[in-house]
């Protein structure tokens, strides 16, 4: 009951005209960047971080959350019409969705994706509403040592569990932690890793790293590859979902939602895994499995729902624990910092208006997105007609404006392009980039908790293994690290 009254308070915030407007701007912008290949919510929110200096926190977070949800809707449009996933989480959608489009059923595919996203987004937000408060109750008992160990779990989960290689994931993470260390150490005032450059005393800005890795790196990578002509499947007619489509879609929507949410909420965040699981589940359960691979609507409905529900799930550890498990969540966390708001379990109590306003705006945003995406799908598809020379030219101009605006220093631009070069190498050699961003933003928090724990224990390292909670978390982290290696060894012995 308490949660419901808090949520009602949240709606009072979210339904204020200005906040409705921010939500609308967010979901519209989010859908647009979700549609555009190569642009994602992490990059967009990073570019918009300067807004935190001029608008109230609630408005900024409503905007960011709208972008985040909107990008999940928009990504499916690109997958279905272009067969190029607009987002990594919509790779699976392209499998069946593009086949449907080729058969002239693009409108039905887009509709099941949009309605499925709405169902899943709403179920996921409900999950967030009711899971976050009890999680906070639990987390309030955490001491610094427990917190540090929880962050270790998150670090290992995002870098070693996802992706193709444990070593490369961890390397990306270590690189991020290193980037996060640059600048003056807040506790002792000592400069670290500044290479003697005064520009680096304040540390490396998140915007520079996110924009460098995601925008500059991606552009360099694509420029170096042979340019292939992509064909856009035209969206014609108003052939929305038939009765059979509805019958074949509603169960996958629900199953996808209940699959995606926990995957997102666990510190092993990321929307890719649940979309894969949902796809194979639907293939197994389908009455027409022979249609899979040739445009089965269940293969669009399920993964799309899983993808959106996991987006809501990612917000659970972000809001309840201050623990980002995706690049986008990490950048949102850094926005809290720029408001001087301490993320963590205290957030729900210290900023109820912000948190519940944000959650309520997610319900509102989902309704807006359904309206924006169902009748206007054709309009969004037009964005895809932007020729790639102008698209990437525009991306780099925006990357420059976002970076140069930080301090009007060309050194920031040099740093941006250098990190872009690293991003290129990471893309080429298959290093995941999300651990770098998460390591950079969460690293300083982890160090702070580590030093707090060590101060409390008077420098005794054993505090991390003598506290039961901390020990449990460290064992989980070790299992996350070792299990994939053991599985691989077993596979090799068999093969």
């Amino acid at each position: 009951m308490d949660t419901l009254s808090l949520l009602a308070g949240g709606f009072a915030v979210a339904l204020q005209p200005m906040n409705l407007l921010w939500a609308l701007v967010g979901v519209t912008l989010g859908t647009a960047i979700g549609v555009l290949p190569g642009l994602g919510p992490a990059l967009t929110i990073a570019l918009l971080l300067p807004i935190t200096f001029s608008v109230p926190a609630t408005a900024a977070f409503i905007l960011f959350a709208g972008i985040y949800y909107g990008a999940m809707y928009g990504g499916s449009t690109t997958s279905i019409l272009l067969n190029t996933p607009g987002e990594s989480a919509t790779i699976i959608t392209a499998l069946e969705g593009h086949k449907m489009a080729k058969k002239g059923r693009a409108a039905a595919a887009l509709a099941t994706a949009a309605i499925g996203s709405f169902v899943a987004g709403t179920i996921g937000t409900l999950g967030l509403t009711f899971v976050a408060p009890p999680l906070v109750e639990f987390a309030l008992r955490f001491g610094p040592a427990d917190y540090f160990s929880l962050m270790v779990v998150a670090f290992i989960a995002v870098s070693a569990v996802l992706g193709t290689s444990v070593l490369r994931g961890l390397t990306a993470l270590a690189f991020g932690i290193l980037l996060g260390l640059v600048g003056i150490d807040l506790q002792t005032g000592q400069p670290r890793f500044t290479l003697g450059l005064p520009e680096l005393l304040d540390g490396i800005n998140v915007i520079v790293v996110a924009v460098g890795l995601f925008a500059v790196g991606e552009t360099l990578y694509l420029a170096g590859r042979p340019k292939s002509e992509v064909t856009l499947v035209p969206l014609k007619g108003r052939a929305y979902m038939t009765k059979e489509d509805w019958q074949r879609s509603w169960k996958p929507w629900l199953r996808g939602s209940f699959l995606g949410f926990p995957f997102g909420a666990l510190p092993a965040g990321g929307a890719e895994v649940p979309t894969f699981v949902s796809y194979f589940l639907e293939k197994k359960l389908s009455k027409k499995p022979e249609e899979f691979g040739h445009g089965a609507i269940e293969g669009v409905a399920g993964p799309e729902a899983a993808n959106n529900a996991s987006a809501a799930g990612v917000l659970v550890p972000m809001l309840a624990l201050g623990l980002p498990t995706s690049a986008t969540a990490a950048i949102m966390l850094s926005a809290f910092q720029s408001y001087g708001i301490n993320p963590g379990p205290q957030l729900l109590q210290s900023q109820p208006e912000l948190v519940w306003g944000l959650i309520a705006s997610l319900y509102v945003g989902n309704v807006m997105l359904l309206i924006l995406n169902l009748p206007l799908a054709g309009l969004w598809a037009k964005i895809l007609a932007i020729p790639s020379p102008w698209l990437y030219g525009g991306i780099l101009v925006f990357a420059t404006i976002g970076t140069y605006g930080i301090s009007q220093s060309w050194i920031d631009l040099v740093l941006l392009y250098l990190i872009g070069g690293v991003g290129y190498l990471m893309r080429r050699f298959d290093f995941p980039t999300a651990p770098t961003v998460i390591g950079m933003i969460l690293g300083p928090f982890a160090e702070q908790e580590f030093r707090r724990a060590m101060t409390i224990s008077a420098g005794d390292m054993s505090t991390f293994v003598t506290r039961p909670l901390s020990l449990t978390l460290l064992i989980i982290a070790a299992l996350l690290l070792i299990t994939p290696l053991l599985l691989r060894l077993r596979d090799r012995k068999r093969g």
Binding site: R192, W390, V397, F429, M454
Partner: protein, 162 residues
């Protein structure tokens, strides 16, 4: 004998080199004895050591053939000309954004990038880049209240006109 994957070896060595640089930089951090237990260097040492170890691990993976790039990466011919245009745009942008201002520097960056992505009409790209940079400058920057400096060439032209 496995054919040695050269680029992967170079990346692994790069990771080790970064770790060594970080290690050296960590030894340069002055530590007050007050913070000897949990000073500013502990996590820095850990991160440096982790990078070096991971780099060594990557080298082992290359040698044992565990880490190879897929053919879609190794067989592709790098479009050097396109990368060259893109790099030219980036370098020009760094060099010109101070003296000329945001709009002219961004226009050139836009045109060079468009060229890198196969556009063959530089005149048209410059015009579109100019329009785009102006919209970005007046829209995005003013809206977000971020100061990206005067567009000096533009203001000089405007003043010259008046």
């Amino acid at each position: 004998m496995q054919r040695l994957a050269k680029p992967e070896t170079a990346v692994a060595i790069g990771v080790i080199a970064l770790g060594l640089l970080a290690l050296y930089e960590t030894t340069e951090i002055p530590v007050s004895p007050m913070y000897a237990q949990v000073g500013p260097t502990l996590v820095a040492y850990l991160a440096s050591a982790l990078l070096i170890l991971l780099g060594l691990g990557l080298i082992v993976q290359v040698w044992t053939g565990l880490w190879t790039s897929p053919p879609e990466e190794t067989e592709v011919v790098l479009d050097i000309r396109a990368l060259g245009w893109l790099l030219l745009g980036l370098v020009l942008n760094i060099g010109l954004i101070g003296p000329l201002g945001f709009i002219p520097a961004s226009t050139l960056l836009f045109a060079c990038t468009a060229r890198a992505f196969g556009s063959t009409r530089p005149g048209r790209d410059v015009l579109i880049g100019l329009a785009f940079a102006a919209v970005a400058y007046f829209g995005f920057a003013q809206l977000l209240n971020i100061n990206i400096g005067e567009s000096s060439l533009l203001s000089a032209l405007l003043e010259g006109g008046n």
